[in-house]
């Protein structure tokens, strides 16, 4: 059963192809079809069919639609139409992908929540609060003098992500350490901001997920996190007690 199917198939295909192309070489086409018919009548149809099909298959790719005419290299008017039509469809398809991809990015309402004002007057030195900015936790910490000294004692060049405390705070407000409460490893909220939470080996924050340790300037000191806790780019002290983030 399998054998008869195969030979039948391969004998039909070239015949169809030949019939499909029109004026260029009608004679050749007719010859081919008849040759095929003759072949399939013979005793060993499979072998012959394959042999005859071979030259058609071997023809250069550009003429797959037509017959293997000798001047295959010359561009034809139909090639132009093919390329133009396929390119047009391709550009169209690519254009449709743009909205399909961009619909997944943050929508306008998500981007709109991007600025908050916080009253920090109630935060005593050594205390910190958690608040929310762009749906992400923010730590606002009032550092003690000891914590500031500890942060400044570190040899900055020895750090994984070298930064001084000064670079991470606002001028004249070195005690206010404002960072995202999002571990730069895989995004957990580190411990150490709320009362009673462990602050880790370096007295700053400790991420319980995979053990990243941050110091009193929220710089990464140990564990898998690649960078320091992020300091939001736009922090402005509106007054001594009101800070605007974003």
């Amino acid at each position: 059963m399998a054998t008869s199917k195969k030979s039948g198939g391969s004998a039909k295909k070239p015949a169809k192809k030949a019939a499909a192309k029109k004026p260029a070489a009608k004679k050749a086409a007719v010859k081919k079809t008849s040759a095929k018919k003759a072949a399939s009548k013979k005793a060993a149809p499979k072998k012959v069919a394959v042999k005859k099909a071979a030259p058609v298959k071997a023809a250069p790719a550009g003429v797959a639609v037509g017959e293997p005419h000798p001047g295959a290299q010359e561009p034809r008017r139909r090639d132009f139409i093919n390329i133009a039509a396929v390119s047009f469809a391709g550009v169209g398809a690519a254009t449709v992908v743009i909205p399909l991809v961009s619909q997944m990015s943050a929508s306008a309402d998500v981007l709109a929540l991007s600025s908050i004002e916080v009253d920090v007057s109630a935060i005593e030195p050594g205390q910190s609060i958690k608040t929310v900015w762009r749906k992400q936790p923010i730590f606002i910490r009032n550092l003690t003098d000891k914590e500031i000294a500890e942060a400044n004692d570190v040899d900055v060049s020895s750090l994984r992500d070298p930064q001084t405390l000064e670079e991470r705070t606002q001028p004249g407000k070195e005690n206010w350490l404002i960072t995202l409460g999002v571990c730069t490893h895989l995004g957990c909220v580190p411990l150490g901001a709320a009362a009673g939470e462990i602050k880790g080996e370096y007295g700053g924050y400790f991420c319980p997920c995979h053990g990243s340790q941050f110091d009193t300037a929220a710089r990464i000191r140990k564990g898998p996190a690649p960078t320091n806790l992020e300091v939001p780019e736009e922090i402005t002290f509106k007054s001594d007690t009101i800070v605007q983030i974003g």
Binding site: A106, V132, Q136, G187, P208, P226
Partner: protein, 431 residues
Amino acid sequence: MSFPWANQYKPKNPVMQWVDERLPLPRLVYNATGAGYPVPRNLNYFWNFGVLSGAALVIQIITGIVLAMHYYASVDGAFNSVEHIMRNVNSGWLIRYAHMNGASFFFIVVYIHIFRGLFYGSYKAPREMAWLLGVVIYLLMMATGFMGYVLPWGQMSYWGAQVITGFFSAIPIVGEPLRQWLLGGFAPDQATLSRFFSLHYLLPFVIAGVIILHIWSIHIPGSSNPTGVSVKGEEDTVPFHPYYTAKDGFGLGVFLIFFVIMAFFLPNAMGHPDNYIQANPLSTPAHIVPEWYYLPFYAILKAFTVDFAIPFTGIVIMPAKLMGVLALFGSILLLFFLPWLDTSPVRSGHYRPLFRKFFWFGLIPTVLVLGVCGAMPAEPMWVMLSQIASAYYFAHFLIILPIVSRIEKPLPLPGSITEAVTGKPLKAATA
């Protein structure tokens, strides 16, 4: 496509004849999983797990569609809608527990199915395509399971989504924008939940499609068997129906017994209690763990704690985070190359004395140890253990298997499947 001695489909019933002439679907089924598919006569129970995987998928699709009728994909409503299903919807608790435990059982049977393939060398020629498609199915399953776990919007849902999408931020430059694109915001939120629900509904049907290709690709050479010796004659095979439909039916019964025991009596044993606390974006649970079936990979992720740097210069070539994420993906993608890493012509581990030792005393304990480490907090002892186990995992596939294939002297193979079973040589072979 099949062996020449396969039974032919000859419907006697005129209705079936009428259908067969117009749409030969019964013929397709007959040839694929009926009396028209000759299967080696010596398959053991490890060969049940493909069908069991398919059964698990059917359970997930049916229970999932019912859950979706009552579930509500909103950050305010999702958690409550799940409680509503548990308390108010008639038989809702049963449907939900079946879906929860069904996911675990799906992974249990697929893991056995994969390790069956690893031991019996099912991934070798001519079945590489079945293996490759299998790994694709596995990846799709992991994605589906992850997104499903986010839907109840409990603490583990939320923080799992945060941590796993965080993987992408490890990629240099495009990582963070990519993560925000996946989440549809800066942190998991409504946009994330809605898209995860949409995809969680879609992917199982994609899996079903890939399974059809997977089975198609196995049916070309036919199933392998515990000896790994190819089928040589009619005597080596029996028709799938009734022989393996019966054996698979029995296996399915046993599987369902275990399944209902868990679903009825220990429904939360394989879950995490923290997921019964509603998601709180401001507080991470003390200890985030993924579902048990991802634990070995989670351990590999956590094993990378030190940057890859040029010593004493401080120049970091690759940060620890990126290495962890690459290793995690690498540990799965590695399986795509397995057919070309293990070059031994002998398929079955039964006839490979050295391979077998590394399989039972190397790979299996390593994966189990990784599973335990994945569940443990990031304490030095566990981190070190996961580092050793991760190193072995990669070495097993990338170094040990290629070397073993080269130096091992396999045991003599039986002349045929029939000879292995009856002790007498195959008639066709002697004739």
